[in-house]
Symmetry: C2
Subunit: 275 residues, 2 copies
């Protein structure tokens, strides 16, 4: 774990996503090479958690409730700067535009809506799908050696991901042909989920194309995450599903439920489809 100048924290996630104000007033972060999806490419959800922290720091509101990110290029691990251009802000919500840059220039631009989520009860909620218990699921971390050397994702050591075996056939050479993945998920460091962690979870499953037998990287082009409620402590259930694959493009549609079965986040991304 690289040295991090953020506030001291026992959580690897908090350290790796820390954003602090430098002496010249700018917002800076230290992108942690450990949160990669293989080959040193940092995970898009991890980068969004860093941008979400910057949005919240510059807002009168506490939580990122809607973030839309365009992934311009893959930033390098190491120092990064964040600029936040504030938009209209009121009692209910605030808008801003966040840009994450490394030494090579802008890597990620994010339209951020922040608000203050409360403990309001759900008036309508999509129920959690039926999934086997965690101990009967497939640990992605324990099977990292299935990936080619140099392509083993650091992310799998930081986000504990337990795939429903019904959606893990691709790991055994038997892709299901249905672009659906489901997994229990929590931070490996034991930190409980919150809206910032949900931003990472919303892009932390393997690509749905794996279920179609295409095991390549699926680079995210644009990702929107909605955080709908404060998650309860414990494992989250994360489901990803594609609706259309063609012309080199694939969508991934995530729904995330907390340990009580409440829907707490949704995301949708457009990505380039692996060949």
């Amino acid at each position: 774990m690289p040295q991090n100048d953020g506030p001291p924290s026992a959580s690897a996630f908090d350290a790796a996503t820390a954003v602090r104000r430098a002496e010249d007033g700018s917002l800076v972060a230290e992108l942690d090479r450990g949160w990669d999806v293989g080959g040193g490419i940092l995970n898009g959800g991890y980068l969004l958690s860093v941008a979400g922290r910057a949005a919240v720091l510059a807002s009168p509101h506490e939580h990122p409730v809607a973030l839309s990110a365009s992934y311009l290029r893959a930033p390098a691990a190491g120092p990064a700067t964040l600029t936040v251009v504030p938009g209209p802000a009121g009692r209910t919500l605030a808008h801003s535009l966040v840009t994450l840059s490394d030494e090579g220039g802008p890597a990620l631009t994010v339209q951020a809506t922040t608000a203050t989520l409360t403990a309001a009860a759900s008036e309508y909620g999509l129920p959690m799908p039926d999934v086997p218990p965690v101990e009967e699921c497939f640990s992605v971390a324990e099977h990292r050696d299935l990936a080619p050397p140099g392509m083993q994702p650091g992310l799998s050591l930081r986000v504990d991901t337990r795939l429903d075996l019904a959606t893990a056939g691709w790991a055994f050479g038997q892709p299901s042909g249905e672009p659906v993945l489901r997994a229990w998920m929590r931070l490996t460091d034991g930190r409980e989920p919150d809206p910032l962690a949900l931003l990472t979870f919303a892009d932390a499953l393997p690509p749905t194309s794996f279920s179609m037998g295409k095991l390549g990287w699926a680079p995210t082009v644009q990702l929107q995450v909605l955080v709908r409620a404060l998650p309860a402590p414990g494992w989250c259930l994360v489901e990803a599903r594609s609706s259309e694959i063609s012309g080199g493009w694939v969508d991934e549609d995530y729904r995330i439920w907390d340990a009580t079965g409440r829907l707490v986040a949704q995301s949708r991304q457009l990505a380039r489809a692996p060949r």
Copy 2:
């Protein structure tokens, strides 16, 4: 229809969404008061079609494939300006940031990804749900008088919307209690669908909250639309569904299929829930 200086067109949609370059080089549009959702509030999808035209005008690519919009405030009908800040552009796709402003300032900021959609066959596609034929559905235009005086949406005269009766109970005082709406949709002017029209369709159904018996306006906060394929001529099928309603927030998740049954667009928005 207000006078429009764009290219001559027999289509009311093309005229109302026209973007032209003024003598000083800026991009301008004339927002048409006819595309309102009631009470003079212009439809968010209509505004996105205007922004999408600006994105395409300033791009080497022909089609808007991913647009994420933050709705800052409701713009007035009449003159509007569009600024496009170009981002990275390559052979496959181009990024930009589009801002739509009226005399009161910025109303809409849009992260736009443009690309060139081809006639590539679908490798995987979510099938169209089973819906009765158009002639057995409920015409929103023919039942405009169900809305209170002054709140009748002009949009319903411009986007021909035929609701599946199974999701139209709210119009008869019998809301289903399931936040789902489904309708056949086409432009009333007879113009065939294309990616720009799909941007309007992706926010053109009544709010899903109507099915919960809440008949108020649900202002869009953030909307992402993905255009996945070039639609075939004819009616599109548009389905909207909410997954979570709480704390004054509601999501709306759209899927759009063309007349051949191919999934051609998806959208997701976070909106304020009507009381």
